[in-house]
């Protein structure tokens, strides 16, 4: 360990720590521009200069790369340091007058504007982060420095489009002045990694936490896009992770659990907007679905709660909301009503008006179903407050007109055509089961209806139990429903499970099969016949054994057993033959009579 004086106080740090790291550990903030914790300190911007006094001699050194030396005194904000730092930051500010980071550092030092007029065509401060990332970390080498002195610049060879750039965007996200643009480096299509949580309205890195309040609040690596899994390079997250928690070689693990009951609450997804061809779904960027508009409204969303158009970020003056998009449409999409769209459209209109006071929400709908508690009152209040224009009629087309859109519809109350120009359209697409859930259910042999929603035993009497015993349903996996119903149904399902656990046992119908060991010829035909895998061959007894719990009394084995060794309680062969005889006698009596 090394001891040294930091701004007058004695401090101890491990050997090899740089002054910047040591200062950060002790709460002293030193400005940096070309520093990145994962890179070799490039030490060129010189913004992080500090004064080091070593056996009486003082000199200025870059704190990002200079390692702490025993017995020296470090002054991070001495009068000389501030004087020099101010001049250097002014020089950088002249290079990049509009960069937020540089302006922030300048403001801390009390600099409003640089005395030097900016001559640079591109606001690049040549900190080298992009070049070092592209060459030493991502190891593609699409861009590099060129020339030297005041002519020094960052460019692709000959300033032409690079043929090796992988458009990963590392250079653009590292640039402190935001001057480097991927589309200027490569002419191939740039596909941003879209945040699933933000419904594809914002970009996210490869290692990410879906949203700030995520539980567990731990990141995950998107192996499909992460450079390490593509080329074995980068590893930035591993380098910067102090607790060394990054495990690239971690593979999936299969674990087994024994449970008594299963509650299926796989939730819902929205009907894909791309299928609404007549509304330009998936083609027009400002035609979005309900969840995307929720993200626009949400404070933690891509626009921090401001309603802005995904295409150009302008605040839309008039927003059209379409009801029943894909719902109540047996011919092409979903036949059922998705129940919650009417209500969340009213909410959308109200919140939109709140955010954009001079905005004009227009709702195209055919009915407004406000079936929940307090819903009708909310609907009435919202219409008044938000000044919603309700047009009764399902629109037929959305046509792009200039930078806005024109909605073709019929006002079925007046019977007249109406063409509404608006800046953005929110389609309330249908609720469908979460992608993959129906397949999962079928694998678990839980019955599913034709839409993929899970089938309940009885819609009225046993709505939370699946037809297969032990499986319970909750939420939109069973049918579209709003949050109050979902929570209620979840509690119901839970209580059903608790009922089972409380009893600790299940009463099963006794009419299962048994095996007459002497007759059993161990031919094992019955074992394959049993759909519930309830039968095994017991070697010692030289006979097949039935697991009482697994047997569901379906009788397949009885039919398959050649020797009649397998018999079912209360449905013995003898009983069956008696019943058949009874039928014949009845027939003889009646036929004889007419």
């Amino acid at each position: 360990m090394i001891t040294f004086k930091l701004n007058g106080t004695e401090v101890e740090v491990e050997e090899g720590t740089t002054i910047l790291e040591a200062a950060k550990e002790h709460g002293v903030e030193i400005p940096t521009l070309c520093y990145h914790p994962a890179f070799e300190p490039y030490q060129v911007c010189r913004v992080c200069l500090v004064e080091v006094i070593k056996d009486g001699q003082s000199k200025l050194v870059p704190s990002c790369g200079y390692k702490v030396e025993e017995g020296t005194e470090v002054l991070t904000h001495s009068e000389l340091v501030l004087k020099r730092r101010r001049t250097i930051v002014e020089l950088i500010l002249a290079e990049a007058p509009n960069s937020e980071r540089v302006l922030a550092i300048a403001k801390d030092l009390g600099i409003e504007k640089s005395r030097f007029e900016s001559k640079r065509e591109k606001e690049c401060i040549l900190c080298g982060l992009c070049v070092n990332a592209c060459n030493d970390i991502i190891k593609v080498g699409a861009i590099g420095f060129a020339k030297r002195g005041t002519q020094r610049e960052i460019t692709t060879p000959y300033g032409e489009f690079s043929d090796v750039c992988s458009t990963c965007g590392a250079c653009a996200s590292l640039c402190p002045t935001g001057v480097i643009k991927v589309e200027e480096i490569s002419d191939s299509e740039i596909k941003p990694i879209l945040s699933e949580f933000d419904a594809n309205l914002s970009q996210r890195p490869c290692i990410y936490v879906p949203f700030p309040q995520a539980v567990p609040n731990r990141p995950v690596i998107d192996r499909e896009n992460c450079m390490y899994f593509k080329t074995g390079e980068c590893r930035i997250c591993e380098i910067v992770c102090q607790p060394e928690a990054i495990k690239y070689d971690q593979d999936e693990e299969i674990t087994e659990e024994e449970v008594g009951a299963v509650i299926v609450a796989t939730g819902y997804d929205l009907y894909p907007i791309e299928r609404m061809k007549e509304y330009g779904g998936g083609e027009y960027t400002d035609v979005i679905d309900g969840l995307q508009f929720e993200r626009l409204l949400s404070a933690s969303g891509p626009t921090q709660g401001e309603v802005r158009r995904p295409s150009d970020g302008r605040i839309p003056k008039r927003v059209a909301f379409f009801a029943c998009v894909g719902s109540r449409d047996p011919e092409h999409h979903c036949s059922y009503c998705s129940k919650i769209c009417c209500m969340y459209m009213v909410k959308h209109a109200l919140l939109y008006k709140e955010r954009v006071p001079d905005g004009e929400p227009v709702i195209f709908s055919i009915d407004v179903r406000t079936s929940g508690k307090g819903y009708e009152e909310f609907y009435t209040r919202a219409k008044e407050e938000a000044g919603i224009i309700y047009i009764r009629g399902k629109p037929s087309r959305i046509i792009k007109e200039g930078d806005g859109y024109e909605v073709w519809a019929i006002n079925t109350v007046t019977g007249k055509q109406i063409r509404v120009r608006c800046d953005m359209v929110v389609l309330s697409t249908a609720i469908i089961p979460t992608v993959g859930a129906p397949e999962l259910a079928r694998e678990m042999r839980i019955p599913v209806d034709e839409h993929g929603f899970l089938s309940e035993v009885h819609p009225k009497l046993r709505p939370v139990e699946s037809l297969v015993r032990g499986f319970f349903l909750a939420g939109c996996s069973q049918a579209p429903k709003d949050i109050p119903d979902t929570v209620a149904q979840a509690s119901a399902a839970a209580s059903k499970v608790l009922e089972m656990f409380a009893r600790g046992e299940i009463l099963a119908e006794p009419h299962i099969v048994w095996v007459d060991e002497d007759k059993c010829a161990t031919c094992k035909v019955c074992i394959d016949a049993c759909p519930y895998e309830a039968r095994e061959l017991d070697e010692e007894k030289k006979a097949v054994v039935v697991s009482d719990a697994l047997c569901q009394g379906c009788g397949c084995c009885v039919a398959a057993c050649p020797t009649g060794a397998t018999r079912q309680k209360n449905l013995d062969d003898e009983q069956l033959s008696r019943m058949v005889e009874a039928i014949f006698e009845q027939e003889k009596e009646h036929s004889g009579s007419d």
């Binding site: 309040q213 930035i236 009951a261 796989t266 006794p510 009983q575």
Partner: protein, 423 residues
């Protein structure tokens, strides 16, 4: 022979309208084994049930057949009556003469005959029924909840708070489902995340809940009460114990677009062959590693007087380094030029000695006459003008060197004549 009691239900007019119940009673009372026959308008109602219960006791019946609607509706109700009446509940059977007879037939006569047959078969079955006890299967008191949305959270909490263990499997990296994405919820306009996050945290910290995020249910086997579940935990590539959630990694990961790895197009076959053989010779002479780059480029400059683009690309290809790196070296050193240079190179010395002896005046003279600035080449490709910082012959300042010949102690009047000899 068991003493069997038959009870026929009218079910309002559901059965009575198409099946002649009195006819049935008459017929059944004569049937061997049937010692007691009664009917009632709603057998499943309280009085109907009481009738059965009393008859069992009164007539000491050993088997009961109730002709009414589908067993899935009231089998349980009548079997409970059998229990309370003291006989084994499995000695009571249901004959379904509604869904399987009266509802599906219109001809009363045939319906009545079919109903009688149905009842008779069940009577025969009941005669040979043994008395059985329901099987008691022990239940594992642990629940699996699939899906970490608001529904999954609520169900898990209810079960866990009752003291039982729960395994919550969520396919996304975090629980919260779509509700976490909402801004505010109708009709109360609560902030959706504000009311959901406490639940999520509670689940996250609940010691009865084994939270499995970024996992999927692979397979479920077994039966109610004893399921075996295979859960596939997708690799997060992050060790959850060690990770403190400090955020350094996701704030510093720079890759924001889907990377598409592309390989440098080879230039070796599209370039002209003898340049390639020259370059091979230079590379063999200087070595084929990254540190020999400067020697190689000097070799190329000796050969072509400048660095053609194909040469730079080929060298990069042979040394397996990015073209941008070779371009950087080529543009850094003054000896290398990326533009074709003239036949003759004019170097005007601007060293201190020559400078004080009037070199700038010589330079401006040449510039105005040839019409090119330092670093440029004349249109006809004859001359390239360059400035150098000392040629080591300060005594002859101001000095100019053309290719290899030195022209010292220049007077601006004689400058242009010196150049004529090269035209």
């Amino acid at each position: 022979m068991k003493r069997i009691g038959v009870f026929v239900c009218h079910c309002g007019h559901n059965i009575g309208a198409t099946v002649n119940v009195t006819e049935i009673l008459k017929e059944l009372s004569r049937y061997p084994g049937v010692v007691h026959c009664k009917d009632y308008k709603y057998m499943c109602s309280e009085p109907g049930q009481k009738l059965i219960k009393d008859s069992i006791a009164g007539e000491e019946l050993e088997g009961v057949v109730v002709a009414c609607c589908t067993p899935s509706l009231h089998e349980e109700t009548f079997r409970r009556i059998a229990d309370s009446a003291g006989i084994n509940r499995y000695l009571l059977e249901i004959a379904n003469i509604r869904e399987q007879c009266s509802w599906v037939h219109t001809d009363p006569e045939k319906a009545t005959s079919k109903a009688a047959t149905l009842i008779k078969t069940i009577v025969e079955k009941t005669k040979l029924n043994d008395s059985l006890e329901p099987m008691r299967i022990p239940v594992k008191t642990k629940a699996l909840v699939i899906g970490g949305g608001v529904a999954g959270l609520q169900a898990s909490l209810d079960i866990a708070n009752s003291g039982y263990e729960v395994v919550l499997v969520e396919q996304n990296p975090s629980i919260g489902g779509h509700m976490a994405q909402l801004s505010e919820t109708f009709p109360t306009l609560d902030c959706s995340q504000c009311i959901l996050t406490p639940r999520m945290v509670e689940v996250g910290q609940h010691d009865n809940i084994d939270l499995r995020t970024y996992s999927e249910v692979e397979e479920i086997s077994g039966y109610a009460g004893n399921f075996k579940v295979k859960i596939r935990g997708k690799p997060r590539s992050v060790d959850l114990e060690k990770c403190t959630g400090c955020g350094d990694c996701w704030n510093l990961c720079p890759v924001m677009n889907k990377p598409e790895i592309r390989v440098m197009q080879s230039v070796s076959d599209s370039m002209d062959p003898d340049m390639r053989s020259n370059l091979d010779a230079v590379i063999d002479r200087n070595g084929c590693a990254r540190e020999d780059i400067i020697g190689i480029l000097q070799g190329v400059t000796d050969e072509y007087n400048w660095l053609p683009r194909d040469a730079i690309c080929y060298v990069a290809e042979r040394l397996e380094i990015p073209v941008s790196y070779v371009y950087r070296i080529a543009s850094f050193f003054t000896q290398f030029s990326l533009e074709p240079r003239g036949k003759h190179i004019i170097k005007v010395c601007l060293g201190t000695a020559c400078f004080v002896r009037g070199a700038p005046r010589i330079l401006s003279q040449i510039q105005s006459d040839l019409g090119i600035a330092p670093g440029e080449t004349t249109e006809d490709g004859l001359f390239t003008l360059e400035t150098v910082n000392c040629l080591g012959a300060c005594a002859l300042g101001p000095l100019m060197v053309v290719d290899e010949d030195y022209h010292g102690r220049l007077k601006f009047t004689r400058v242009m004549s010196a150049l004529d000899s090269y035209k």
